[in-house]
Amino acid sequence: MSDALPIDTLPIDDSVPIEDIGERHLMPADMTISEVTNLVAGVTERPAPRGWWILFIPAVMLAGLMFACLGYLVSAGTGVWGNNAPVYWAWDITNFVWWIGIGHAGTLISAILFLFRQKWRTSINRFAEAMTVFAVLCAAIFPALHTGRPWLDYYLFPIPNAMNVWPNFKSPLMWDVFAVNTYLTISVVFWYVGLIPDLATIRDRSTNLLRKRIYGFFALGWRGSHRHWQHYERAYLIFAAISTPLVLSVHSVVSFDFATSVIPGWHTTIFPPYFVTGAVFSGFALVMTLMLIVRAVFGMHRVVTLKHLDLMTKFMLATSMLVGYAYAMEFFVAWYSGNPYEWWHFYHTRIGLADSTGQRSPYFWAWLAMVSCNVGVPQIFWFKFARRSIPVMFVATLLINVGMWFERFVIIVLSIHRDYLPSAWGIFHPTLVDMGLYLGTMGFFLTLFLLFVRWLPMFAIAELKGILPGAHPSHLHDHHEPHEAPAGELSPAPAE
């Protein structure tokens, strides 16, 4: 990471009010349209830098570990996991919720920020969308295996069959099937539609016939026609408009898996917004971790400037506060509801106070890890030096992701290891297969991700061009004139 440091000396204009940072002068003032093309498309044309290989080789090895664990799991059965009574949902579901949540930041960045016209999203949206697709793929592995007999997973779909057996559509697990599949499909479509003009850019730059054919095939013959752009832009808006409620619904549905049960710690109405916020929070953190790495490896400091990183850290700070509020509200409601089981669960298993028999929950450290990583660590972003320091950001985002994994662990495992009957209490110990599978999905994710940054335009070329100064006819900006007058001298429309 250290090689990222010296180049981060781009001028940052602190005199511009925050709404202007979101709107204007995002890119370095001397950035030209063709430089964007060269920077982004060039990555796919040159040999991979060494840093890429340093990440790729271990990633592929970890992906291999995932496939080995999968093979063993399918042949031997889910008994190779540590799940046992009463903790039937453990790392597998924790990982599922964690991965799905990570994916949510991608949709948030590409859809919600698009609807709010946050132009700084253009430097991170492609990236985040790719992350969404790969994270959802990793997530989908776990519930599919958790069924125990994954070769019968087609029972999940309403396929007409001779036995007249239909799925039970009243089950939140069934809702999950629809939500996750829809989410994966729409994310892929959204990502691909965004890629079409950029694939055409790479196609038109290709000198090698094979590249021209492959990129040309996926570019669908795009020729930048404005008659196409017109439909395309509206279609993109529609995708953003449907993805926004979709992303909110997906993690809400995931939270229904828990909230519709009667387990203390699960049975609460705050779960849908709580899960969604946490998802966005963790996803932003992972986008940032990966962004910092890729930015250093491929030298993308001019596309992802400190301004972008600064805005992302503020986003994380805000979502961290929301998550902290949800943590506090869980406690409040547990107390205010007057439900003794609920309240016992929170003070005993979560914060680890001794109960009447003097026992402490064996897992109170998990709750501490969750709160300190998710609420404590991001507070550093109140300080400007932290929002400008790459190492601080890198460590903080990693810790946030650890914390968000613990949040899911706390919700899932802690709630079911102590339910109503003390005779039914138990404890969960992960096995090697649990760990291998979790690490393996990380490798699988990273492999796909590195292949993506290597072979596909990792930034939305066409969208980046659209936010450069002077990218649009001058008369359109006339009404902005008083607004941006103070900053006018800073960037004399160099794109022209």
Binding site: N164, F169, T201, D204, H226, W229, K465, G466, P473
Partner: protein
């Protein structure tokens, strides 16, 4: 200009030799507008203005295009803008089919700006009389040179360097009444919808209809399988009472109804988009142009197809030339 003419001649001779033996695509460089124009000028010089630009380029060459000095020229802009704007209307009222005429008529007008420009600082002195004759030549002389070429023209392709220039040119082409023409830009350029006179897209209707279809389909599916035991096409449902909820309890259907509606809406938007833009498409004549590769990089193009009713080798070129493209070429179809 003379260098360009030479190039053109070279091109012509070589391509006509080729054309005889192997019927490949040929490109003919028709006219090269100067490259160094600034956005202000493109805005100011509306019609039949190559003269000014040549003069400007000369001036630029002499002064090395010092950017700082160019700024004073910004004051030129309003002055220059007024006139062409005034002239544009008569031009638009005239029958656009005869584009040569307005161009010819405006040449007198072209003399005016230099006359008025003196108040604005630098370039005035060199401009007026010296450069205009060469500028008038290209439209007059070039057409005969190309006509002998046999291949069928597919479209005219004009290249522009700035968003202002292409928006401006698009308005001209729109007002001239062309229908089978297009702008090609590396990103979605705002303001081009109006400049091209496009009607709003209808893709939202497709998405809406299919979204509703998804909502209905999901409801019917759940109702038929979980809430009734009547048999549909040999497949019977099963009235399941689970969790104390009655068969067909609507609240429990909401999540799947929603997700399935979104799914169909999204997929139909994708396929609707492909249908509306007719896109997976194997080839298009614009790709015959080598310069067109920059349409996805940093240049802006206007193409007018030969299939357009108003397309005319000379008139169309005259129209495009009058919009000050940085490059203009006639793309031809495969002679084979």
């Amino acid at each position: 200009m003379s260098e360009d003419d030479d190039k053109k001649l070279d091109d012509d001779s070589s391509s006509s030799e080729k054309g005889a033996s192997e019927p490949v695509r040929k490109k003919t460089i028709v006219g090269m507008a100067p490259v160094g124009q600034t956005p202000k000028e493109t805005k100011g010089t509306l019609m039949g203005m190559p003269a000014i630009d040549d003069a400007q380029v000369e001036a630029d060459k002499q002064e090395k295009l010092a950017a700082a000095e160019e700024k004073p020229a910004a004051e030129e802009k309003p002055a220059a803008e007024e006139k062409p704007a005034a002239e544009e209307k008569p031009a638009a009222e005239e029958k656009p089919a005869a584009e040569e005429k307005p161009a010819a008529e405006e040449k007198p007008a072209a003399e005016k700006p230099p006359a008025e420009k003196p108040p604005a600082e630098k370039p005035p002195a060199e401009k007026p009389p010296a450069e205009k004759p060469p500028a008038e030549k290209p439209p007059a002389e070039k057409p005969p040179a190309e006509k002998p070429l046999a291949a069928r023209p597919a479209l005219y392709l004009a290249e522009f360097e700035t968003p202002d220039a292409i928006v401006h040119a698009a308005k001209r082409v729109r007002d001239a009444g062309y229908t089978k023409w297009d702008c090609h830009t590396p990103y979605a350029l705002h303001g081009l919808d109006d400049a091209m006179g496009l009607t709003p897209t209808k893709i939202g209707i497709i998405s809406f209809i299919f979204g509703l279809t998804g909502v209905l389909a999901a409801f019917l599916l759940m109702y038929a399988t979980n809430a009734t035991d009547t048999s549909v096409m040999g497949f019977a449902g099963y009235r399941a009472i689970i969790g104390g909820k009655p068969p067909g309890a609507f609240p429990s259907m909401v999540p799947i109804i929603f997700e399935f509606g979104i799914l169909l809406c999204g997929l139909s938007t994708l396929f609707g988009l492909c249908g509306l833009v007719k896109l997976p498409r194997h080839n298009h004549p614009v790709f015959s142009s080598e310069r067109f590769a920059r349409a996805t990089d940093d240049r802006y193009f206007i193409s007018i197809e030969a299939a357009d009713d108003r397309f005319d080798l000379e008139d169309t070129r005259a129209l495009l030339e009058s919009t000050d493209p940085s490059f203009l070429e006639l793309v031809e179809e495969d002679a084979a």
